[in-house]
Amino acid sequence: MIEIDVPAADDMTQLGHRLADELAAGDVVLLGGDLGAGKTTLAQGVGDGLGVRGPITSPTFVLARVHPSLVEGPPMVHVDAYRLGGWDELEDIDLEATLDEAVTLIEWGEGVAEGLAGDRLEVHIDRGRGGDDNETRHVRLTGVGPRWDELRLRQLVLTS
């Protein structure tokens, strides 16, 4: 597990860019954190880095949105499990159909989407508590499975 501090929204987008460099078709990323933590901002950075068609907006309303690649790379499937009751309802939206050829990002996926892939990257974003103007987010990256070993995660952070 790796932890880093992300000072501002632009840095979150940058982290998304670096993450995109490491992502390939078949990868699954779970994004966790409270309302307003910056999950969609990170997803926007990833989408931008992958070169997929935007705009990448909150998928809460539609549950899942497919963003085709503009650079002949993998498409990004952007999912929001905020309104889903559990694994059964996640299965209903049939993510498995696109899992192998796409990069799948699942907001609010913690506790719901783990069954989707043995290898996955779990990203949890904590917003500093309280009303101060400190915009810093604490980001925790946890790799699950051989695809995401510690070394790879460290590189992701070191290149920042």
């Binding site: 309302l35 907006t57 809460t60 009751g85 309802e89 009303g131």
Partner: protein, 347 residues
């Protein structure tokens, strides 16, 4: 000669709507909603919506025919929402419309949901004098459109870059312990609050953002600001003034929506604005839009609430405009398009 009778079918989200229209005259507007089934989820779930549409579409069609006191044989053309919307939900309406068009041997028009919202206004106050700027605000949409001709020419001026306005209402309601849907609950709570007690941020209104996102919206930062404010109060052990938070939030949303829509009218030299979508039911948004339009010499047009939310009559109204222009029907093989751009009024 009376104008042709147009049947309109709308199933892009959670309302199953069937409407009947002649020209700009409303004859029937029957709507069945699956909102109750969605309350558990705090929003629309596509699979639930599709099943609900399937069950509701035929009974809603019969209600519309009864309301207009016409028979299916009287229908001259069928119009249906082809997109944008939820893929599974759209498919139900498009399939129903195709079945009807074949059975009745009448032309079929697949039309744009967003432009339908603008066409609905013609049922309230008569033909539009284009060009108009339309501000569409709902659970899934937050857009500023320019419509040069409701039957043929619409363009997207701006939209949300993160959360839709209605979604922000739902999420903020949850943050302050109010129920789904957030809009009416926040409005009620805000009535007891002071809108100037807490100043929440107006997204994308800074100088740099106005250069890049002149007519775009962002409600994600506002949502975060409310969350922070509530956490600070809770940490200090203070009771959260739900009324003030709701009023401050509602003011921030209404302020930025109306400011940018009025700006679009002014910069494009357009003197008519149409306000539509489910969030247009919000009293403060209506009031502030009215005030600012009056101050800027813009005529504000808004249909009654039942024509603001998703409905079949708006699709029939757009179908009527298309038929009146003598445009060719859609090719029968057309499918629904969940991300249909607003520039495609008719597919």
């Amino acid at each position: 000669m009376t104008a042709p009778l147009i049947l309109g079918i709308e199933t892009s989200c959670d309302e199953t709507g069937v409407g009947l229209v002649r020209g700009t005259t409303l004859l029937a507007n029957a709507v069945a909603s699956s909102v109750d089934e969605h309350v558990r989820f705090g929003g629309v779930v596509p699979e639930v919506a599709s099943r609900a549409h399937l069950e509701a579409v035929v009974p809603t069609l019969h209600r519309a025919l009864d309301e207009a006191q016409v028979g299916l044989d009287d229908v001259d053309a069928v119009a249906v929402t082809a997109g944008p919307g939820l893929a599974g939900a759209l498919m139900v309406g498009v399939s129903a419309a195709k079945a009807l068009a074949v059975a009745l041997d009448k032309p079929l028009y697949g039309v744009n949901h967003l432009v339908g919202h603008v066409a609905a206004e013609q049922l309230e106050n008569g033909p539009l004098t284009e060009p108009v700027v339309a501000l569409l605000v709902s659970g899934g949409h937050t857009e500023i459109l320019q419509v040069d001709d409701v039957a043929t020419a619409a363009e997207l001026l701006g939209q949300t870059i993160d959360d839709a306005a209605g979604e922000a209402f739902d999420k903020v309601a949850r943050l302050i312990g109010l129920k789904y849907p957030g809009g009416p609950h926040i409005q009620r709570a805000a009535a007891d609050g002071d809108p100037s007690a807490i100043r929440f941020p107006r997204g994308l209104t800074g100088q740099r953002d106005m250069a890049r996102h002149r007519y775009d919206f962002s409600f994600s930062g506002l949502k975060t600001a409310v969350a922070r404010w509530v956490e600070t109060a809770e940490r200090a052990g203070d009771p959260v003034p739900v009324g003030d938070v709701a009023a401050g939030f509602q003011e921030a949303v209404a302020d930025v929506l109306t400011a940018k829509a009025v700006l679009a009218c002014q910069e494009r030299g357009i003197s008519t604005m149409v306000l539509a979508g489910g969030v247009a039911a919000n009293a403060r948004l209506r009031e502030l839009t009215q005030q600012r339009c009056e101050a800027a010499g813009i005529e504000l047009r808004q249909p009654r609430f039942s024509l603001c939310t998703d409905n079949g009559a708006m699709i029939a109204a757009l179908g009527a405009a298309v038929v009146e222009r003598g445009l060719p029907p859609s090719r029968f093989e057309f499918g629904s398009d969940s991300s249909l751009p607003v520039t495609e009024v008719l597919i």
